[in-house]
């Protein structure tokens, strides 16, 4: 346990700084700042908090900032940390959007946005590929994975339907498998590299 817990404004500014230097994912930076620089959490605590942040719906880094802020300063700390993650990036991204919008009819803007978009798709797919590497040995999960890609990507299946058709069975089978492994077995936490 740390002796000198961070205050509300320190939480806000720490997360503001992390978010401002994060292009394409805040999590790797968050780990360095929270664990190594500030020593607010031990490595083990960070990994466990991240695991929960990933299991809860919503953006992982925002969830993590909320939980961390809450641990030290309750609701006010949670709010301050999340705002740190979001406030300045929201202003920046809004300015960028309005700039592009006001030149949206210009062929150069159109072309540039298409090029940026093509790269963005690449970044998204590469993230998916990296996440596959962090997958635990859940073989049946591959069926759910491929099924989701085809049903949503090609078939246009809605998200609630996807959760019903693939999500619920995937959780049920995993729970059944874990029970089969026995409760006493040591559990290794899987941490993915990116949000």
């Amino acid at each position: 346990m740390i002796t000198n817990p961070p205050g509300v404004s320190e939480l806000y500014w720490a997360f503001t700084k992390m978010a401002a230097q994060a292009f394409g994912g805040v999590l790797p930076i968050a780990e360095r700042v929270v664990v190594v620089d500030k020593k607010w959490l031990s490595q083990k605590d960070f990994v466990e908090m991240l695991a929960v942040a990933q299991a809860i719906p919503g953006p992982n880094i925002v969830n993590l900032s909320l939980m961390l802020g809450d641990r030290f300063q309750g609701w006010r700390g949670a709010f301050a940390s999340a705002m740190g993650c979001l406030s300045i990036p929201i202003v920046l991204v809004s300015i960028l959007t309005l700039l592009f919008q006001s030149f949206s009819e210009h062929p150069v803007t159109k072309g540039a946005l298409l090029g940026m978009g093509a790269v963005s798709i690449g970044l998204v797919v590469a993230m998916g590929l990296r996440l596959i590497g962090s997958q635990s040995g859940y073989r049946i999960g591959w069926i759910a994975l491929v099924g989701t890609v085809l049903a949503v990507g090609i078939g246009g299946m809605s998200l609630p339907m996807t959760m019903l058709v693939f999500g619920v069975p995937a959780i049920a089978i995993r729970l059944w498998q874990i029970r089969g492994q026995g409760a006493g077995e040591a559990v290794k936490t899987q941490v993915s590299e990116k949000e």
Partner: protein, 187 residues
């Protein structure tokens, strides 16, 4: 300029956007990008508020600015319905999961590897990854006949996967290529 910031779209639409994203938020497993196919279906296919190019551009703009990827929702909101659209969709998308994170966090953090949490996390991981690939397909589908766009995507996948180059440089390179009209020479 002001009309671009607050276009007259009517409050029913803003409320509809807010409620829709409120519900979607609770199904966001594995990050905000896994919601992109559902958002595309709603904003582009059903409502016609955005074109395919605008939708893809929104993700590109969010990735080229610092901060969490979830902010592509803010960009989508700006383009779909101006300032209030951005507010409604951003707040709608973040609020439910934020409340859940604090409450669930307090309960779970003492034992994150309990039976139920492990089942939930490991069971949903394949779906989350599948949704990310589906996002790629949904975004690329409209450009299926533009081989240059696909080529840029494939090269970006390879560089992003095999190197540690910061994504912003790749996006800048894409902007330059596209800005010179190299991706759609016909138009």
């Amino acid at each position: 300029m002001l009309s671009a910031i607050t276009p007259d779209v009517g409050w029913p639409l803003i409320i509809d956007l807010f409620l829709r994203f409120l519900l979607l938020s609770l199904l966001a497993t594995g990050g905000a990008l896994s919601l992109a196919p559902a958002m595309h279906k709603y904003l582009v296919a059903d409502k016609g508020l955005l074109t395919d190019a605008q939708f893809m551009g929104s993700i590109a703009l969010a990735q080229s600015a610092p901060g969490p990827n979830v902010l592509f929702v803010t960009v989508l909101g700006w383009q779909a319905a101006g300032f209030w659209g951005a507010v409604a969709m951003t707040v709608g998308c973040l609020m439910p999961s934020a409340i859940l994170a604090v409450y669930a966090g307090r309960k779970i953090v003492s034992n994150p590897n309990s039976y139920w949490m492990r089942g939930l996390r490991e069971g949903l991981a394949p779906i989350a990854i599948g949704l990310i690939f589906a996002t790629g397909i949904v975004l690329l589908k409209p450009w299926i006949n533009e081989w240059r766009v696909g080529l840029v995507t494939v090269v970006a996948i390879a560089i992003a996967y095999f190197s540690r180059l910061a994504p912003v440089y790749l996006i800048a390179a894409g902007a330059v290529l596209g800005g010179f009209g190299l991706l759609q020479p016909g138009s």
